[in-house]
Symmetry: C2
Subunit: 360 residues, 2 copies
């Protein structure tokens, strides 16, 4: 396919400072390295971790295009690219990876030696009409047929992250037993935002029973829709103990990124249980040393290696397409970004995607 | 063998309060449950974790026989015992286990549903001329020929714990790679007391390079003898980075049980590295949330399941018998316990074992 004409300018969501989101007209990016691609963005997701910037919890100054969930079409290819061609529908992982370094070779693409997360001071973000994707061959994935665009945005971060946080828990919880493939055990998901809800769906493929908790009654209701036994924290511990012969949860998935959530996880876990955390922690975490020792607690923290978990996460999406079709609550014009950042921050809207007007 | 006559009274080390150790004359224990054994103690080790009581870091009141490292001879068997008979030379794991509960079946004997650690308010300790061992069939091990008694005391806690802390690190550091049996990677041991020194020896069978650090220059010297590259903390980070192409350590073994040691571990670890901790933590631990997320840190905390690690730890002991023969620095009469608790607390003596006068 011939290279399409590109405009010189585009609309993009720029974070100026905490609580300051502006939609600006900026230059369309161009290929800089032979491994770069430019994609025309159809949908860009608004993610809970964007709120860490919005709420001022990340190092300043800000003044960059934000966002890390983009789905679109390849419009420019660097000369070293071989996996994608112009016209391909692609989704980019939320962080770039080279596929060839110490970390990538182990499947830990989220800590690629050259890797960067879209939407920060170092590489421009996905909430823009066009996105430059560095290391495109190993950062992009083909978009399969039959999945609506809005739903597919979940595959940039939310669903692979959710799969990872559940799969880490499941693997570590059973590493000593010959039951890796058998569904079993009791899991608790702390936090029922988008990642938490997806984590419930993923965990239900691995654990026999999944509890979930959140401060918001509305989110608890959503958690029930996803199949969890959803309870406010004050009722949770007793029910978990009841379900586990008083042992505590085999696994706790902490998807919030605040110290209190981790502390609750440590409280709910059984001895030799696993606390699997994908929450973006930014504060000091105080943990009770005597309990860490006393329960032989295990933790796995951190960012998802999308390349490692893309395939099983996509299967969860395809197997639950009806559930996830209702999942992206709002698809709105990028011009409404300031309003939706505010609503999302206040917990008044759920998962949101931005669309772009590519005819103007 | 016929049941030998037992005295009615014995000498035992009683902890009365912090920094208050008394050697008292107390009744010899008797069989209470049909799974109990009574062993005549030949040697009882003084362990770093005894100091948690001594220093007042454990819940009070105290007033019990302390100690959890005993080697001796079976002198009474409960009627339900089948694995041991009177006259057998045995060593007891530092905590009891049933072999049959949820945890024991997974090899997590340190969190046995019926398990207790010797030398606490619930079961009398090992620093006594006679010891009652509950659940004796699954808590005791036969003593192999050819290992001196003093050295064998290491098998109650120190060496299995050291093997565990290293093996957990090795297993988790390589779980994604097909290199489980290949020696490789860079490991750091924080703390060079008895467990730290043994952990160095264990880690050297698994990792390509082992660094070690401690506040005490004398302990650093010992760490060198065990084969580590021993450095004070202020030189360590730069050398670890040099040895790992600037990544950081693949694994850090934290054997101290103080928050600063864990904080150093988190600082030294590479992304997706594993912090393996056997330190008995008693305080709140403040950890930097951004680093936990930013490095995808993994932790395994807690107490050793001796039954699971006894065999490989014994092999390390047998393979390094000369090194370990010098390891127990002092074997002294139990009557000297108050003095040696004080010296051990001040770091003025190394691993110490108590002997008992069974002729009186």
């Amino acid at each position: 396919m011939a290279e399409p004409q590109l405009p010189e300018k585009m609309r993009a969501v720029v974070i100026k400072d905490e609580f300051q989101i502006e939609v600006q007209t900026v230059p369309v990016p161009t290929i800089q390295e032979d491994t770069d691609a430019i994609i025309k963005v159809f949908r860009a997701g608004l993610c809970g971790s964007d709120l860490h910037f919005y709420r001022g919890h990340q190092p300043k100054p800000y003044n960059f295009i934000i966002g890390h969930e983009a789905i679109g079409e390849v419009v420019r290819c660097g000369s070293a690219m071989s996996k994608f061609k112009i016209g391909d529908k692609v989704i980019a992982a939320f962080s770039t990876s080279c596929g060839d370094c110490f970390y990538c070779k182990q499947g830990h693409t989220s800590r690629c030696a050259k890797g960067l997360v879209f939407g920060g001071p170092k590489i421009s973000g996905a909430q823009a009409a066009y996105l430059k994707v560095p290391l495109a061959d190993t950062t992009c994935f083909h978009v399969p047929d039959g999945i609506p665009l809005d739903v597919m945005t979940l595959m940039a971060d939310v669903l692979p992250t959710s799969w990872m946080v559940a799969a880490n828990a499941r693997r570590l919880a059973y590493e000593y037993r010959d039951e890796q493939d058998k569904k079993g055990g009791v899991c608790v998901v702390i936090g029922c935002g988008p990642v938490g809800l997806c984590a419930i769906t993923c965990a239900l493929t691995m654990f026999e029973k999944v509890f979930a908790t959140d401060l918001s009654p509305q989110r608890l209701k959503m958690a029930s829709t996803h199949g969890a036994t959803a309870l406010p924290m004050e009722q949770l511990e007793a029910e978990v103990l009841k379900a586990t012969e008083n042992r505590g949860a085999d696994a706790v998935l902490e998807v919030v990124g605040v110290p209190a959530a981790l502390q609750s996880a440590v409280k709910l876990i059984r001895p030799f249980g696993i606390v699997s955390s994908c929450g973006l922690h930014t504060h000091t975490v105080d943990l009770p040393g005597a309990t860490l020792y006393g329960k032989n607690v295990r933790f796995q923290f951190g960012r998802c290696s999308v390349n490692t978990y893309f395939e099983p996460a996509l299967k969860v999406l395809q197997d639950n397409i009806e559930l996830f079709s209702k999942f992206v609550e709002n698809t709105v014009s990028v011009e409404e970004a300031p309003k939706y950042y505010d609503l999302f921050h206040k917990g008044e809207v759920g998962k949101t995607a931005f669309s772009f007007d590519h005819d103007n």
